[in-house]
Symmetry: C2
Subunit: 197 residues, 2 copies
């Protein structure tokens, strides 16, 4: 009975998260998730290509939102300022939905296979950010470098915020970019040649 499709998908997401939390990702079978969601195991794999992806269903929207935030940044901004603009929006969303997202983070952090998938998703987001920068006219090479390093700073800030939520994520974000400026301003341009060994 194909009542809604989207409904089954929602229940599958829910059931998967619950079970992953209760008994761990590795100790949970796709059949169990499907059973709790009231559908067949086969149906699970029709909605999600694999057992991990069920936890990353919202990443498509996130990617779109990120690209849009980059596109909507005021004209004339330098690449890092554009990224700061976009990351602030994304960070706002993170702060708002933290209570809902936290159990999900917990499962991912505890499961190597899920952390792998998360890194892959991040790479996918970085590509979107780089492309959005290019659309604004940023040179391809610079866009790639800015997206990669800017994302790295963002992730550092998120980690710091998770460890120390007292200060808002936006505070950590500003600090990360400030510290990055301090770090890179000290690097000597000259090569320090070491003898080849």
């Amino acid at each position: 009975m194909p009542r809604s499709g989207a409904e089954a998908r929602r229940r599958l997401r829910e059931a998967a998260l619950e079970l992953y939390l209760e008994r761990g990702f590795d100790q949970t079978t796709a059949a169990e998730i499907a059973a709790r969601a009231g559908v067949n195991e086969r149906t699970f794999f029709r909605h999600f290509p694999d057992k991990r992806e069920v936890l990353f269903d919202g990443d498509g929207d996130l990617r779109a939102a990120l690209a849009q935030a980059v596109a909507e940044a005021p004209d004339g901004l330098e690449p890092f300022a554009v990224l700061l603009h976009a990351f602030r929006r994304s960070a706002q969303e993170l702060e708002n939905t933290r209570p809902y997202s936290e159990p999900r983070w917990k499962v991912i952090a505890a499961t190597p296979a899920l952390r792998e998938r998360e890194l892959a998703k991040h790479a996918w987001l970085v590509e979107a950010v780089a492309e959005a920068l290019r659309r604004r006219g940023t040179a391809a090479g610079v866009a790639d470098l800015a997206a990669r390093t800017g994302w790295a700073a963002y992730q550092h800030a998120v980690q710091a915020w998770v460890d120390e939520p007292a200060q808002g994520l936006s505070v950590h974000l500003e600090r990360a970019f400030d510290e990055l400026r301090a770090l890179s301003s000290t690097a000597p341009p000259g090569p320090d040649r070491t003898p080849p060994n």
Copy 2:
């Protein structure tokens, strides 16, 4: 016959790479790899925890080399200068072994599951770099930020080098760090507040 153990392992690495190149990762079974290496399928999984890991066997050494290069950088250098020192060494190794490594890169680039694993390995390397920085006295937060962003710049350089090998990797590496300095020096410290929506 446990002639050597390390020998079987070497043959397994070799056979796996060959088969992944010939017919693709997904179209290759562990049993086939084992057969070509002259051992049992079970033996494959005794040497490698899964089908992907067989392509990343050298990453332990790389991690150690990277940590050592960070440790051996001259005293008194700022974090990014230390990283530049370490990445130059790593880059030298990359340039030297490129012909041997290229087929491996090709397989990884063509296989999503392998790119996932590669990203996980990179995260593991970044952790090692951050820890090595901390051992030198760099504050934990700064070490994490520097390792993440420095690695991002390094990977940008590697990508640029793969796309355009005419200039050496070290040239791309210097340029990446220079461009990163230029990028981050332009970011405005003040927050540009956008109304919450």
